[in-house]
């Protein structure tokens, strides 16, 4: 087991210069090479103790000894029971390979081609767009007010009938794109509208009922409700009624109701609208983790005005823009692709910042570095620079000029740059 010896030596080399890294590597090493649970717990405890003694300004000498001792234990076993360690490691690697080989390609849940919608003859119209949704992925629909975000998702949810185009739900039903068996489709779609409808009774009863109308009854119903309540940390609310809950708790109950019967497609219309920052973070974290489940992956389509939050969790982004002409207003899809690809072909870098210095002082500093695209947006300044000046370079410029920056954001790769007045 040369690999174990090499990794153990690497841990040792870190003990004196970076004990945190040594402790971290030790935990990984015990996990991958040892079947001794006590050694793993000791390695975990070293990591906890390191954080504590750092806070209390204590010496870490005894932890250095503990790391050495754990390493000696593992290496000692290598001398006495080499086959056991080799066998454990081989099985560990075989398991990894097994699951890599059995990972499946992302399946397409929905495919729309040339979809459009018109409310009335001279009313808002959504211009034709194409869209694909995949299992295990989150697709964010963002954009200006009244640009057709809700209209777009209602077409996919089957709440609106598209004026033109084809819809396919390959996982749910065979269709030619025009005639769809909506019963099959809607049995697999969970839709959470912008305005939540209050429900009668306690949270727990509401979830039991929601599952029962999907045909899941008896013990399975009880088990699934209990599971989702605890998984989404709703246990403190389970005996409360709708009117007794905060907006954030209500939204999490709706998420539980939507996910409990394991739909393939989850559509959410502005779920973050009434949530505070903490509630948003918890909601998005749960959504992200549950959507990417290995056993029951869900395709999530979500509309929101929270661009940065959406860009952080989404795999794909659709940006909608509203254009108003003399006769009508229309919504157009101006970006539809992978979130990580947005801004790759940009012509300039874009930054937002606030500082305590005056606009003139800031302008003077920027001009000295040939940055002349600078505008005041009230609470913040918008700066556009050449690609040669990235966030790190700009911060360095501002720091060297002793500017008192109170807010800074690099929006170069954000759809925020698509808003017209930005």
């Amino acid at each position: 087991m040369e690999a174990l010896v090499t990794e153990a030596n690497e841990v040792r080399s870190f003990i004196n210069r970076d004990i945190h890294e040594a402790a971290n590597k030790l935990l990984k090493l015990t996990n991958e090479y040892s079947s001794d649970l006590q050694l793993k717990k000791r390695a975990l405890k070293v990591n906890w103790d390191l954080t504590r003694i750092e806070e209390e300004n204590q010496s870490s000498d005894h932890l250095q000894n503990e790391i050495q001792d754990i390493l000696n234990n593992i290496l000692g076993k290598l001398e006495t029971q080499p086959d056991d360690i080799t066998d454990y490691r081989t099985r560990f690697e075989a398991t990894r390979q097994f699951f890599i080989q059995h990972s499946h390609d992302k399946e397409k849940v929905f495919c729309g081609k040339g979809l459009s919608y018109q409310y009335g003859e001279n009313d808002f119209a959504l211009q034709p767009y194409d869209i694909d949704l995949y299992l295990g992925e989150i697709t964010a629909v963002v954009g200006e007010n009244s640009s057709g975000k809700s209209t777009l998702i209602k077409i996919i949810a089957g709440e609106h009938l598209a004026k033109s185009g084809e819809l396919h739900y390959p996982l749910f039903t065979q269709s030619n794109g025009k005639h769809i068996d909506w019963r099959d489709v809607k049995e697999n779609i969970a839709y959470i509208p912008q305005t939540l409808q209050p429900w009668a009774g306690k949270v727990k009863d509401y979830l039991h009922f929601s599952l029962a109308i999907k045909g899941i009854k008896g013990k399975q119903n009880v088990d699934e409700v209990e599971y989702i309540i605890h998984r989404l940390n709703l246990s403190e609310f389970q005996d409360k009624a709708c009117h007794e809950l905060s907006g954030g708790a209500c939204m999490r109950v709706e998420l539980a109701r939507a996910l409990i019967w394991k739909p393939k497609l989850l559509i959410l219309d502005e779920p973050l609208a009434n949530l505070d920052i903490n509630a948003q973070a918890i909601f998005l974290r749960d959504l992200e983790q549950l959507a990417s489940s290995h056993k029951n992956p869900v395709s999530v389509l979500i509309t929101s005005q929270h661009l940065f939050e959406m860009e952080n969790i989404s795999h794909r982004t659709i940006f909608l823009k509203k254009n108003t002409t003399e006769s009508a207003s229309i919504g157009e899809v101006t970006y539809n692709g992978l979130t990580q690809d947005f801004g790759k072909n940009r012509q300039c870098n874009t930054f937002e910042l606030s500082c305590k210095n005056s606009a003139e002082e800031l302008r003077a500093v920027l001009l000295r570095h040939q940055i002349n695209d600078f505008s005041n947006h009230g609470h913040y300044y918008l700066i556009k620079s050449g690609l040669n000046i990235d966030a790190r370079a700009l911060i360095k410029i501002l720091s060297e000029a002793n500017m008192e920056v109170s807010y800074f954001r690099d929006t170069s790769e954000s759809t925020r740059t698509l808003f017209e007045n930005i």
Binding site: A94, T95, R96, Y227, H294, P297, I313, H315, Q340
Partner: protein, 102 residues
């Protein structure tokens, strides 16, 4: 950005181990639930996870209401994390055996 390929079981295990390391009991219990749901058929383990979620919620609530001293709180957290580590190890061993059998 969510991981593109979530099926690598040992990466998920490492993620949980990192949560143990950071002593985030709620998220540890939640992700252990996901791990069991995704990779195991043993329903007893899922029930065990629910118990851990409950314990995490109780500890957090007690801390919020200042019912525990710092030492008591840390003892509870440590005990819960060790119990979860036991379960994680059991699951891992069973998966190693299953893969070998396959």
């Amino acid at each position: 950005m969510a991981a593109a390929n979530t099926s690598d079981i040992l990466e998920r295990e490492r993620e949980i181990l990192d949560l143990f390391k950071s002593q985030d009991i709620t998220l540890s219990a939640n992700r252990l639930c996901d791990f069991v749901t995704d990779f195991c058929t043993n329903s007893d383990w899922r029930k065990e996870c629910i118990v851990y979620c409950n314990r995490a919620a109780t500890i957090k609530e007690a801390e919020k209401r200042r019912k525990l001293s710092f030492k008591e709180f840390m003892d509870e957290v440590t005990s819960l994390l060790y119990d979860m580590m036991d379960l994680l190890e059991s699951i891992k061993n069973e998966l190693l055996n299953l893969c070998q059998a396959a």
